[in-house]
């Protein structure tokens, strides 16, 4: 599974992208965020306020209860500010 980061979430985590093999217990976006939060202090800081964490799966916005598949492209980012 590829996970991409954008904006200050990318900066806090310190990388734009990582490839992960997830344990079976990670079934939803919320599970993934919990799992990532434990992987480093940067991850924890970036994902700390879940209300500011937006997620896209295969380039489509999803809610945190969205179910994941092993070959998904996940993107994690703060609320968008374009326009």
């Amino acid at each position: 599974m590829i996970v991409k980061y954008f904006s200050w979430i990318r900066e806090n985590i310190g990388q734009a992208e990582e490839t992960l093999s997830l344990p079976d217990t990670v079934k939803t976006v919320a599970d993934l965020l919990d799992y990532l939060s434990k992987s480093s202090e940067g991850h924890a800081a970036a994902l700390d306020v879940r209300g500011l964490v937006r997620v896209a799966v295969n380039q489509i916005h999803v809610q945190h209860d969205h179910a994941l598949s092993a070959d998904d492209e996940i993107a994690i980012f703060p609320p968008v500010t374009g326009g």
């Binding site: 896209a56 489509i60 993107a75 609320p79 968008v80 500010t81 374009g82 326009g83």
Partner: protein, 149 residues
């Protein structure tokens, strides 16, 4: 029918309006929106826009298609820049064309509201001493809700 572009280059308003009008003599109304880099107190040096290549284009097309479903548009164009911009530079252009003015006005307004809350762009402002990511506004989320009623 909709045209979408995500680019570093600036756009030319006249040229884009000419594209949407070309060959369409049944257009009666053309509405354009330009969003620009605002510098309220003279302290802004630059603004950098990051985006999510691939998803951005797909999301803008999805938003344009939604507008075309809701209003009888004859044309619809969205151009959004990314990279580093200066104060007063253009950021985004939305153009809608229709027979009557209400469809063009409403669709352009709708496109901007949806783009603001859904297109994966993030702005970082550079002032004299520091860099800061722009925070999303609650007003933008509220603006979206108008279109659900």
């Amino acid at each position: 029918m909709a045209y979408v572009s995500v680019q570093t280059d600036d756009f030319d308003l006249n040229a884009e309006v000419a594209c949407i009008r070309a060959g369409n003599q049944d257009i009666g109304a053309v509405v354009s929106f330009i969003g620009t880099v605002r510098d309220i107190d003279g302290s802004l040096r630059s603004m950098t826009l990051e985006h999510y290549p691939g998803m951005t284009e797909q999301e803008l097309e999805r938003i344009a298609n939604e507008a075309e479903k809701r209003w009888p548009l004859i044309g619809c164009r969205i151009i959004h820049r990314f990279g580093t911009l200066k104060p007063a530079d253009n950021i985004v252009l939305v153009i809608t064309a229709s027979r009557h003015r209400s469809a063009a006005f409403e669709a352009a307004d709708f496109l901007m509201d949806f783009l603001k809350s859904n297109a994966p762009f993030w702005k970082k402002e550079t002032t004299a001493g520091k860099e800061q990511w722009v925070e999303a506004k609650a007003a933008d989320e509220q603006a979206l809700e108008r279109w659900n009623s």
